[in-house]
Amino acid sequence: MFAACADPKSIEGLTWGFCYLTSGKHVDFYWSFVVVLALLAITAPAALGMGFMGATAARSHIAPISWLGKIYIWMVRGIPDIIFFLFFVIALDQGLEYLKSLAVCDGGAWPWQGLEFRVCQEAKVPLGASSSGWHQAYGFGLAVVTFAIVFGAFVANVIYGAMQAVPHAQLETAEAYGMSRAQVFRRILVPQMWVYALPGLGNLWMILIKATPLLFLLGVKDIVYYARELGGSKTQAYEYPHGDWRLWYFLGLLVFYLVFTSLSERVFARLSRRLSKGQATSGGKAMRKAAA
């Protein structure tokens, strides 16, 4: 990358360290932090959306919709995450390719043949000819969908509980004022439920951050993959030979996660204070007392 690093075997000390830390593979490693942060940035709102829909469906007065919501929450909550992650990536990928093969392949043969899953070349997602960037983006997309489905169910449960926690008298009063069911939901229930949902959502956010190493299982080259790959001892076959440094790389990840979760905790504490303002909860009451 830099001119001074052209011949890694002949340099020493600080220059070696500098060149080592700026090697192509390390740059990939630094990028993988961006990948993890991007995953969180996309997954969190997506899971919140899934959860909101799940909770709303579970509370629905129309029985089939309510069952759908409840079955979703029940299934995802009852199955170990890791099985979902292993299952979904294969199921989504093969399901997508099967659907596409129905549309673009002639004959439409059943793709599950013995040990093999076989669809015509045109039905591959992404196509075999697509650049590796597309393959990576596709893998990342599958990961986002899987995370959103799994965490959405937990969010749904938290929001469902929070909706139940809003004092019933408030809803009845609103109805007595002549508001329709949708208006009560929009104006009274949703604005007030957040304060009840926040502690649960905060927990889920922490769990989501800590679940990002699962990306590695999904075939996305995340920070754990690179830490293991870079830390492993390297013989002279490599440009920068070194011993087993995995401990240091994992220590780095440990610090990264700790700093990240600590920052998140602070943000949630502030958010909680803001949402408690004027609420009929003990937190809100304490704030009013302090002000008086």
Partner: protein, 250 residues
């Protein structure tokens, strides 16, 4: 109409839709000098150079993909890539689930790496990578086997005393022993296991296998394969080569 819409959506999703065939080569990327990820973050090693040469001769566009060793066969079968090129020995067990090309590396010996030359292999577990011929060999020969997912971990297990020795391809272990500064040594005892290294294909991919077989044969015929095997950075001049046996029927 519905199908058309679905197809359009999926084609957009799958990116550039060019009909040109690309062959995806799947490797592990953790087993120097066979294959590894170099410091630039690219697949390197003997199999990189060899695979690129094969694709040139077979006039195919190839792309490299890395995959964990554990799931390298299932992911071939589900179509994530088309060829396994990962130092995989040809065995009857594997022949049942995938097809192999002709061998491109002659059967090589496996060696034990231990902390001292007089290590007793019966005194404790011997480390090997999961689903390798070495792991099966250790188990079949009455030694206790302890398996790890990556080659790196098998060596680490010997260093920290979890295993008395590690059994792996000698070509992988020799540089590690040489560079350990005397901490790790190769035992005198070696094992001849495996039937040579070949490319792995799906059972249904006979056409593609034929193309690669022809390319391998042409590399054996003009001696480029032997020259590549004996390069210093790969298996050195001491390595077993195909020699005249490879030139039969040229």
């Amino acid at each position: 109409m519905k199908k058309l819409l679905l197809a359009t959506a999926l084609v957009t999703l799958s990116g550039a839709a060019f009909a040109q065939d690309v062959v995806r080569l799947g490797t592990e990327g953790a087993y120097p000098p066979y294959n590894f990820i170099n410091d630039a973050g690219e697949v390197a090693g003997f199999e990189r150079e060899f695979g690129d040469e094969l694709c040139k001769r077979a006039e195919l566009t190839c792309e490299w993909v890395t995959n964990e060793w554990d799931s390298i066969i299932p992911n071939l079968q589900s179509g994530n890539y088309d060829v396994i090129i990962a130092g995989m020995s040809i065995t009857d067990e594997r022949e049942e689930v995938i097809d192999f090309s002709a061998g491109y590396l002659p059967p090589a010996s496996s060696a034990y790496l231990a902390l001292s030359a007089d290590a007793d292999l019966m005194s404790g577990p011997v480390a090997a990578q999961t689903s390798t011929i070495q792991a099966a060999f250790v188990a079949e020969n009455g030694m206790a086997v302890v398996e790890y997912a990556t080659p790196e971990e098998t060596v680490a297990a010997v260093k920290n005393g979890e295993a008395v020795a590690v059994l792996a391809d000698k070509d992988y272990l020799a540089p590690i022993a040489a560079e350990s500064g005397g901490e790790l040594v190769l035992l005198a005892k070696e094992e001849a296991i495996g039937g040579g290294v070949g490319l792995g294909f799906r059972d249904s991919d006979d056409e593609l296998r034929g193309k690669f077989d022809a390319a391998i044969k042409s590399m054996k015929c003009d001696g480029t394969l032997d020259a590549m095997i004996t390069k210093d950075e790969y298996f050195t001049a001491a390595a077993k080569t195909w020699g005249d046996a490879g030139k039969e029927g040229c």
